[in-house]
C-alpha cells in the first residue's frame, strides 16, 4: 500500500527537483538543448523517394510476383505522352511529321529502352515471297495524301494500336516511352527523366501548337508522389501560423507563445536529424511528419504553460513557484500522454507499408524529443523571460459554468445517455463494416494535380491507366510455338477482350496471327495462329529478324521461348473490381487450359489493389498490442484495474464512430486510413486519462460521490480537453487539405475520430463512471483512502 504512496511521492519530488534544477541552470539547460537540437539537426537530410515501389515491403507477395514477371521479360516503367491534335485528326502530314519528330526525340529520354508510337509501329506486309516489316509512317513529310489515307486505314484496323496508341476515331494518339530505371537512386533518376520529358514536351508544344499534350504513366505517377511529398511538407507553414495563433489565444502571452514555438521547432529539427541518421527517404505519407509533430508537441507545452500562467494570474504565485508547481502537476500527465502517443505511432511498424513505418518512427522520435524539450527548454525559457502580471481575469465564471452545466446534464441522466450513446456507437460500428478498400492510385491525387487531370483525359479518350498482366507458360522450352498453346492463348485473348472492364489486350497470339497472315500473302483468312509448330517457330524467327532496335519482342517473350506476357489494359475500376476481374481471369485459365498455362494476375495496379487488405491484416495485431499496452499504461497511471478496463470503451468507440461516419461520407477507405486506429488511440487516450484522473482525485481525495466527481472533472479539465482537441483538430484539418488521398483521408477521419472522442469522453465516459460506481460504491471507498493521484493539474 505504502509503496504506491511512496511511488507517488517519488514522482512528485522527482518532478519538483527536475523543475528546480532546470530553473537553476536555465542557461546551461537552454544552451544544452539548443546544442542537442542543432547537433541532431546537422545530421538532417531531406531526401525524397517517389518510386511507387516504396509502398511495398520487400516481402510483399504482389511485389514479388510482379518483380518476377519483370525479371522474366523486361523491367519497364513508362511515360505516356498523349497528343490530341486540335483539328481532331492525327493523320495529316503536318501531324504525322510532328509525331515522328517527337518519337525521335523520345529516344533521348534518359534510361529509355523503347519508344512506341503510331509512326514507328512495325507494320508487316507481304509482296510475293518478300516480307516487309517497316515503320507504319517513315519520313512522313514525303507521303502523298493517298498514302496518308492508307496509313490511317491501316492504323485504325490494327488491334495492337487501337485503344492503346490511337483511339477509334483517330483523333488522339500516344507515344509510349519505356524506361529502364537502374533503381540505384530513384531520388535522382526519376527527376532526371521527368525534367527531360517536361522539357521535351514544352519544346514540342512551342514548335507544334496544334496539339494538346497530356502526360501519364508510371514515371509521372512517381513524380506525382514525389511532388505530393514536397507539397505536404509545405503544409508545415500553415501549421506554424495556426500554432502561433492558437497558443497566443490560449495563453495570451507573447513569451509563452515564443517558447512553445521554440519547443516545437526543436522537436522538428531533431526529427529531421533522425530522418538523416536513419537514412529515411521521405514519401508522401512520411513527409507529413513535421505537421504531425507540431500538432502533437504543442499540446505538451500548452498544458504546462496554461497551468503556470493560471497559477500566476489566478493564485498569485511568483514566476518560479508557478513554474515548479506547474511542472509538478503536469510532469506525469505529459509523460503518460507522450508515452501513449509514442506507443500508438510505433505500432505502425506492424503494418506492411514502409512509408508508414517511417512516419511512425519519425513521429515517435519527435514526440520523445518534444517531451524532453517541453520539460527542459520550455521551463528554462519561461524562467528567463519576465512575466507581465495582469489583473486577475474576470469573466472566467461563465466558462466554468458551461462545463459545470455539462456535468449536471450528464449526471441527471446517465442511464439514458449511456443507452443512446451505445446505440449510436453500435449503429455506426455496423456501418463501419460496410466500408470497402479502394486504393486506385490515380485517385490518390485530387483534381488539383496535373497527373490526375491528364490521366483522366487519357482514360476518357484513349486507353486505360490500370492493367493486369499474366505470364502464361507453355511448360517447355520453345513451347510458345506449340499450336495447342497458341490456340489456348488466343482463346484467352478473346475471352479477355470480351470482358466489360477490358480496354485493350496485348498478347503474343496477336503477333502469331499477324505474321501468319503476312506469310500467306496478307490473306485475311490466315489471320489465325499457325497450326504447325515448326511453321510457327520459323515465322517467329523471321519476324524477330526483321524488327529494329528497341522494338523487339523481348518485352513479351521470355529468353527460353517458354512463356509469354499477356497485358490487359483496364478501365478505371475500383480495387475490389480489379481483384474480382483478376481472379475471374485466373479461374478461366484454370478451367480451360493445362497447368503450365495457369497464371496469376500481377501489375502495379494489382499491388495497390491488395495493399489496403494487406496493411489491415498486418496492422490488426499491432492494433491489439497497442490497445493492450495503452490500457496497461492507463491502469498503472490511474492505479485502478477496473477503470483501466473501462477506458477501453471510450478509447475504441471513437474509431468505430469515425469509420461509421466515413461509411456515410465516402464508403471507401484506403491504405493510409488503416493506421488511424493505433495512431488516434495514442492521442485520444489523453482525454480519457485526464478526465478519469480528475474523477478519481475527486473521489479519493475530496471524498465526492460519483456524480459530484464527474462535475468536478468537467470543471477542472473540461476546458483543457477542449483546447487540446482544438489544437489537434487544427493540425489534422491542415493535413486534410493535402492533395494526396492517403494523407487527406487519414487526416479527415482523424478529425472525425478526435472530435467524437471528445464527445464520448464528455457524455458516455462520465455516464459509465456514474453507473459503474453505483454498483461498487463500497469497494471504491476502500481504495479512496489509499490512493494518491498524480495525474493532476
Amino acid at each position: 500500500m505504502n509503496a504506491i504512496k511512496k511511488a507517488g511521492d517519488f514522482t512528485n519530488n522527482f518532478a519538483k527537483n527536475w523543475a528546480k534544477f532546470v530553473i537553476k541552470y536555465k542557461w546551461p539547460v537552454l544552451i544544452g538543448t539548443l546544442l542537442l537540437a542543432l547537433g541532431l539537426g546537422s545530421q538532417g537530410k531531406m531526401e525524397f523517394d517517389g518510386d511507387y515501389h516504396v509502398f511495398f515491403s520487400k516481402s510483399n507477395p504482389e511485389l514479388e510476383a510482379f518483380d518476377a514477371l519483370q525479371e522474366k521479360y523486361t523491367k519497364d516503367d513508362n511515360i505516356v505522352i498523349v497528343l490530341a491534335p486540335k483539328n481532331g485528326n492525327v493523320f495529316t502530314r503536318e501531324n504525322l511529321v510532328a509525331i515522328e519528330e517527337l518519337t525521335e526525340q523520345a529516344w533521348n529520354t534518359p534510361y529509355s529502352s523503347r519508344v512506341d508510337a503510331v509512326t514507328n509501329f512495325q507494320h508487316t506486309s507481304a509482296d510475293g515471297d518478300d516480307l516487309y516489316v517497316d515503320d507504319l509512317s517513315y519520313e512522313s513529310i514525303n507521303k502523298t495524301d493517298a498514302e496518308i489515307l492508307e496509313i490511317r486505314e491501316k492504323a485504325l484496323k490494327e488491334p495492337l494500336l487501337v485503344h492503346r496508341i490511337i483511339n477509334e476515331e483517330g483523333s488522339v494518339t500516344a507515344i509510349n516511352v519505356t524506361v529502364r530505371l537502374p533503381g540505384v537512386d530513384s531520388a535522382t533518376e526519376i527527376p532526371e527523366v521527368t525534367i527531360a520529358t517536361r522539357n521535351m514536351v514544352s519544346e514540342f508544344q512551342e514548335k507544334h501548337p496544334q496539339f494538346d499534350v497530356y502526360t501519364t504513366g508510371l514515371v509521372p505517377l512517381n513524380t506525382a508522389f514525389f511532388e505530393a511529398s514536397q507539397s505536404d511538407l509545405g503544409l508545415i507553414g500553415i501549421m506554424l501560423i495556426i500554432v502561433i495563433l492558437v497558443t497566443l489565444v490560449l495563453t495570451r502571452n507573447f513569451f509563452a507563445t515564443f517558447s512553445t514555438l521554440v519547443v516545437v521547432l526543436f522537436s522538428i529539427i531533431s526529427a529531421v536529424g533522425f530522418v538523416g541518421i536513419m537514412g529515411i527517404k521521405l514519401t508522401p505519407p512520411s513527409a507529413v511528419f513535421p505537421t504531425m509533430i507540431m500538432t502533437l508537441a504543442v499540446a505538451d507545452s500548452i498544458h504546462i504553460l496554461i497551468t503556470m500562467l493560471q497559477k500566476v494570474r489566478k493564485d498569485g504565485l511568483g514566476k518560479r513557484e508557478a513554474l515548479v508547481e506547474s511542472m509538478r502537476l503536469n510532469f506525469m500527465p505529459v509523460f503518460i500522454t507522450s508515452l501513449t502517443t509514442v506507443i500508438g505511432f510505433l505500432t505502425m511498424n506492424f503494418g506492411d507499408v514502409p512509408p508508414f513505418w517511417h512516419l511512425g518512427n519519425i513521429t515517435a522520435f519527435g514526440m520523445t524529443m518534444a517531451f524532453l524539450y517541453s520539460t527542459t527548454t520550455l521551463p528554462a525559457l519561461m524562467a528567463i523571460f519576465p512575466i507581465w502580471k495582469r489583473k486577475t481575469v474576470a469573466g472566467k465564471l461563465p466558462k466554468i459554468g458551461l462545463y459545470h452545466k455539462m456535468g449536471l446534464f450528464v449526471t441527471r441522466q446517465p442511464v439514458r445517455l449511456t443507452f443512446i450513446s451505445l446505440a449510436i456507437i453500435g449503429g455506426l460500428a455496423y456501418l463501419a463494416t460496410l466500408n470497402v478498400f479502394n486504393d486506385e492510385f490515380v485517385e490518390y491525387f485530387d483534381d488539383s494535380v496535373q497527373f490526375r487531370r491528364d490521366s483522366d483525359f487519357i482514360n476518357d479518350n484513349l486507353t486505360g491507366f490500370y492493367n493486369v498482366e499474366f505470364s502464361v507458360g507453355s511448360g517447355e522450352s520453345g513451347g510458345i510455338n506449340n499450336p495447342e498453346y497458341l490456340e489456348n492463348l488466343n482463346a484467352f485473348e478473346d475471352w479477355l477482350n470480351n470482358q466489360s472492364e477490358v480496354v485493350h489486350v496485348n498478347a503474343f497470339s496477336e503477333v502469331a496471327r499477324r505474321v501468319n497472315r503476312s506469310m500467306h500473302g496478307d490473306d485475311p483468312s490466315y489471320y489465325q495462329v499457325p497450326n504447325n509448330r515448326e511453321e510457327a517457330a520459323q515465322y517467329l524467327l523471321l519476324y524477330e529478324l526483321s524488327l529494329p532496335f528497341g522494338l523487339d519482342l523481348n518485352n513479351q517473350i521470355n529468353v527460353d521461348k517458354s512463356e509469354t506476357r499477356v497485358t490487359a489494359t483496364l478501365k478505371n475500376i475500383s480495387s475490389a473490381e480489379m481483384i474480382a476481374f483478376s481472379s475471374r481471369a485466373e479461374q478461366w485459365l484454370r478451367d480451360h487450359t493445362d497447368q503450365p498455362m495457369h497464371s496469376i494476375g500481377v501489375s502495379p495496379t494489382m499491388m495497390f489493389s491488395k495493399l489496403g487488405f494487406r496493411q489491415a491484416d498486418s496492422m490488426f495485431k499491432g492494433n491489439i498490442i497497442a490497445l493492450i499496452l495503452i490500457s496497461l499504461v492507463l491502469m498503472l497511471a490511474l492505479r485502478n484495474f477496473k477503470l483501466g478496463l473501462l477506458s477501453i470503451i471510450p478509447n475504441v468507440a471513437p474509431v468505430l464512430v469515425g469509420f461509421g461516419i466515413w461509411a456515410l461520407y465516402k464508403g471507401q477507405i484506403n491504405t493510409g486510413m488503416v493506421i488511424v486506429f493505433g495512431m488516434t488511440l495514442g492521442i485520444i487516450v489523453d482525454d480519457t486519462v485526464h478526465f478519469m484522473s480528475k474523477f478519481l482525485r475527486a473521489r479519493r481525495e475530496l471524498g465526492y460521490d460519483a456524480k459530484q466527481a464527474v462535475i468536478y472533472a468537467f470543471e477542472t479539465v473540461g476546458r483543457a480537453l477542449v483546447t487540446t482537441t482544438i489544437v489537434l483538430l487544427a493540425g489534422f484539418a491542415v493535413l486534410s487539405t493535402s492533395s494526396f488521398a492517403l494523407n487527406s483521408y487519414m487526416a479527415r477521419i482523424t478529425v472525425i475520430i478526435i472530435l467524437s472522442a471528445l464527445i464520448i469522453d464528455f457524455i458516455l465516459l462520465p455516464s459509465l463512471l456514474i453507473l459503474i460506481s453505483r454498483k461498487s460504491e463500497a469497494t471504491e471507498e476502500v481504495q479512496e483512502l489509499q490512493a494518491q493521484v498524480q495525474l493532476d493539474k
Partner: protein, 257 residues
C-alpha cells in the same frame, strides 16, 4: 611479310601522328585491321549461343556460319540453325554491301520457301540475343565514320559512328590490338541517347594460318537490361574453299536440309 608492312605503316602513322587528324588516324586503323585479315578466302565455324537473363536462366542455340570473303563488295555469309529443334534447318543468307542496305534471305524448311527480308531493320536483336544483326554482320570499313581517341598500351581506341540512320547506336568505341594484327579486343556500344548500352569482349583468341586471329568466345553484356549473350566458337575451318555457288538461294535451301 605483309604484317610487318602494316606494322610499319602503323608505326609511321604514330610518328606522323601530329600531321594526321583523329579522323584520318581512325580510318587508317580500321583499314589496317581490314588489311590484316585480308585473304582468308572462306571459313566455316560452328557456334553455340547462350542467352542469359539477369537471374542466370539460360537458353541455347546452335548455329553454323559460312563466310566467303569478297573484296570488291562486302562478304557473303550463310548461317544455319541447328537448334532449337523447331527452327532446325532454318538458314539466313546475307550479302553485305559496302554502301547501302544489305540483302538478306531466310529459308524456312517448314514451308520449304525462301523469304526475302526487308532489311532496313538490322538494329534489332538477333534471335532474342543481346547481339543485334548489325553487330554480327561483316564489318565493312565503309559502314562507319572514324575518330581515333587514344592509345592504351598496345590498344588503339577508335570511335566509330554508323553511317546508317536506322542503326541502334550513336557510336561504338572499338579497341584494336596493334600488336596482334589489329584484332578487336573490345567494343562498347552507345545507344541513341548516347548512354553505354552494351560491351562486347573478345577472348580465347587463336591464330589461324599464322595470320588470322579468331576469337573463341564473344561475350556481350547489356548494361541496361543486365542480360548477357555468350558465343562459343569451335575451331575455324579455312580449308573448305567455298565459292559463290555456296552462297546462292539454292545453296540456302540445300544448307537447310
Amino acid at each position: 611479310m605483309r604484317k610487318s608492312i602494316f606494322i610499319s605503316i602503323a608505326l609511321l602513322g604514330t610518328i606522323m601522328g601530329k600531321a594526321q587528324t583523329p579522323e584520318e588516324r581512325g580510318l587508317q586503323i580500321a583499314k589496317a585491321a581490314e588489311e590484316a585479315d585480308l585473304g582468308f578466302g572462306s571459313s566455316i565455324v560452328e557456334l553455340k549461343m547462350t542467352l542469359k537473363n539477369k537471374n542466370g536462366q539460360t537458353s541455347e542455340r546452335f548455329l553454323v556460319t559460312r563466310t566467303l570473303e569478297l573484296t570488291e563488295d562486302g562478304d557473303k555469309s550463310l548461317i544455319v540453325f541447328g537448334s532449337p529443334k523447331d527452327v532446325k534447318g532454318t538458314a539466313t543468307l546475307t550479302f553485305t554491301h559496302k554502301v547501302g542496305s544489305d540483302d538478306q534471305w531466310l529459308y524456312l524448311p517448314s514451308i520449304k520457301r525462301v523469304k526475302r527480308i526487308s532489311s532496313n531493320n538490322k538494329s534489332g536483336p538477333f534471335v532474342g540475343s543481346e547481339f543485334a544483326y548489325e553487330d554480327l554482320s561483316s564489318q565493312e570499313v565503309e559502314k562507319y565514320t572514324y575518330k581515333f581517341l587514344e592509345t592504351k598500351g598496345s590498344l588503339l581506341l577508335v570511335e566509330q559512328d554508323p553511317v546508317d540512320p536506322k542503326s541502334g547506336y550513336t557510336r561504338r568505341i572499338v579497341s584494336y590490338n596493334k600488336d596482334k594484327g589489329y584484332r578487336i579486343e573490345k567494343v562498347e556500344f552507345y545507344d541513341r541517347k548516347n548512354a553505354l548500352l552494351k560491351t562486347l569482349t573478345y577472348t580465347d583468341y587463336k591464330l589461324y594460318k599464322n595470320k588470322f586471329w579468331r576469337a573463341g568466345t564473344f561475350t556481350m553484356v547489356n548494361h541496361q537490361s543486365n542480360k548477357e549473350t555468350l558465343l562459343k566458337f569451335s575451331d575455324y575451318n579455312f580449308e573448305a574453299d567455298l565459292s559463290e555457288d555456296d552462297f546462292s538461294q539454292v545453296a540456302l535451301q540445300r544448307a537447310g536440309n
